[in-house]
Symmetry: C2
Subunit: 388 residues, 2 copies
């Protein structure tokens, strides 16, 4: 079959705020080939990712993503890898290209799965998909009391693990951070897993991060995520070397398989977090899952949007019985829920299960897009480049 069409749907909440909640908009991708369609999702900045698909060519190594995708043959997993190499070569100098390609790549796996009547995790070579233990991914409250209440809420909803991040954490004093950490632990109770996401707040300030370690270890935090800029590999490694019980997590910003390997090899993280909507899709994510397994590093998905994106993000390590924890957007905007008709829900053990259904196993609610659709038009010298 040939890839006949790639259609984007840019969805947005009516009001987008500047808080750290990534579920306020979405770029959903539909790929059509023969009688089949596949669905995927790009992470963040829909307009820019659309532009990377349609932009005029700058030169041979800076081509729009569409040049490497439309009209390509898609019959097998190896075709996805082949097209990925084309994109990497032809869009080498187009920085945004990898984010655009990620959503398309995910859709191609969904499409192939539907064609073969197999779930994606089986196409990836797994014989079974193990249940995962989701952690509720929640933003710190503005006050410790608000944080405490959010932590209690997560427990009441059945979560046995929770991650708190962003908000005021790291931006105020050390004592403020310690108060927030105590509030999380109090709200979660003593037995739940507690994770903390610093959202790159300390840049390259190793000392600022080190000052929080004893507080993190006192509340039994399992990991400290993204203390530094995503590329501050030496700082990651230096901080990890100072830890007694907490381990450093990172990797969500990786926009290539190589970048994620570097974070493992040189950043020395204990948890590697991959966003399928950025790294180039499910294929490179699976490669990193294997790379991490070989080195005793725990692989975790990074997902803060829809359950379509959540399904995609779980496939790469579905068959790894040792990597049990998974991110679960616990307080998404309605938009993120409305993208699919079916949703992941927690079983009595607080675990979630990947569907044993073709492709990603998600029913995309295309009709429901209408309320959220942002129509984009792009033209160059009066000639339309994109409308949709």
């Amino acid at each position: 079959m040939k890839i006949e069409a790639v259609d984007f749907s840019y969805l947005s909440m009516p009001v987008v705020t500047d808080d750290g909640d990534g579920s306020q908009d979405a770029l959903v991708v539909k790929v059509s080939a023969g009688d089949f369609t596949g669905w995927g999702e790009c992470e963040a900045s829909p307009l820019v990712s659309i532009a990377a698909f349609v932009t005029p060519m700058s030169h041979g190594a800076c081509q729009p993503v569409k040049n490497s995708v439309l009209g390509q043959q898609i019959d097998d997993v190896s075709d996805i890898e082949r097209i990925a190499r084309l994109v990497a070569r032809n869009s080498m100098d187009l920085l945004q290209a990898q984010h655009t390609w990620s959503g398309i790549e995910i859709a191609l796996w969904d499409l192939l799965g539907k064609m073969r009547s197999e779930p994606v995790w089986r196409l990836l070579g797994y014989e079974q998909a193990y249940p995962k233990t989701p952690y509720a991914s929640v933003l710190f409250g503005d006050t410790p009391q608000q944080t405490l209440e959010r932590a209690q809420d997560a427990r009441q909803r059945g979560f046995t693990a929770a991650k708190f991040g962003w908000g005021p954490f790291g931006a105020l004093s050390l004592q403020d951070d310690l108060d927030q950490l105590k509030a999380v632990r109090e709200g979660l109770g003593p037995d739940a897993s507690l994770l903390v996401d610093a959202g790159q707040i300390w840049g390259t300030d190793l000392e600022a991060a080190k000052a929080r370690l004893s507080g993190l270890e006192a509340v039994g935090a399992m990991w400290l995520e993204e203390p530094f800029y995503a590329d501050a590999l030496s700082d990651y490694a230096d901080l990890q070397a100072c830890c007694e019980t907490v381990r450093i997590a990172g990797g969500e910003a990786a926009h290539s398989e190589g970048m994620a390997r570097n974070i493992i090899d040189f950043g020395k993280v204990g948890f590697i977090q991959i966003d399928c909507g950025r790294i180039g899709g499910i294929g490179p994510a699976k490669a990193i899952s294997d790379y991490a397994s070989d080195r005793g590093i725990t692989y975790v998905n990074h997902t803060f949007t829809s359950h379509l994106a959540l399904s995609a993000s779980l496939q790469p390590y579905a068959g790894k019985s040792g990597d049990l924890i998974c991110e679960f957007p616990a307080m998404p905007r309605q938009l993120a829920l409305d993208i699919t008709r079916n949703h992941f829900s927690l079983d009595l053990n607080g675990q979630i299960h990947l569907p044993d259904a073709p492709g990603l196993g998600m029913e995309v609610n295309e009709e429901g897009f209408t309320d959220y659709l942002i129509e984009i038009e792009i033209s160059a010298n009066g000639k339309n480049l994109y409308r949709g």
Copy 2:
């Protein structure tokens, strides 16, 4: 002064081909503050970089670049650094943002230099700007004979060094590559410096690159540039360890100071090549120049477009007397020449000199843009986001 306006000019040759020539289009940036204007240039994919400036916000860490720039105070070098940190924070999840910001950052240096009546290299703390020895940056010909003629042409134009890259190199057989290398050396003569750019052709294939090392060393190549994907740090280091005389060069894709540091620390390159139009502008480039100097690594600019971009790319290491070699786009399209009224030219020693003039010292030929201008319009739900 406040930053009142950021205006983009997307310029393009009438026909853009898929060869590796990055001078076929350009995104020129004009920044206005008070009575001053500054000029800069973003590297590659103008439409996508414009989109990153105006895109609707996805969330607090995925804001358009304009949110961190327009209305900001600009009186001093420290303001540029401050705004850079804002962009890094507010556009963390917008991959293309750093390319957009790069051109703006360059323009802010130009503007500050004009305000102070000082060349940018003096604002960077240098007391003098040393002449640089440009290498002609040329694409391999389709045949060894064409390559030989291009090498002869470079010598006849006064260049004492030349870099050949892209074209068929690495894509055909080992023998083809050896024939090309011999042709370059024959055309350049025995005494000129010879550099080779593989343009990432071997991906992560260490053996393919190793197979070319003896041929490169036989023709006395000074460096082998970008043998692998930009993020294949371990492969870079492994190849460097196999070299006897040739050294590995890389870094042009770095879109942050941290990435460039990683290429030095973990990729073990002998030459670090920085494109000011990608890394975030002149500030981070200067930081990498210092970082490289401290470690005995040679800093080199990466420039394949206009003489405006060339001036910007030379400023960060203008005062480093040890780092003498510089890239010089030797066969640019007319567009790249028409962006400025003044140009760098080779003196009798085959060297070029940075202007001792305010800012970047380049007279931008705004009136000359007309023939090349691509007018872009972007709208969302019928509301105009960009026109220009």
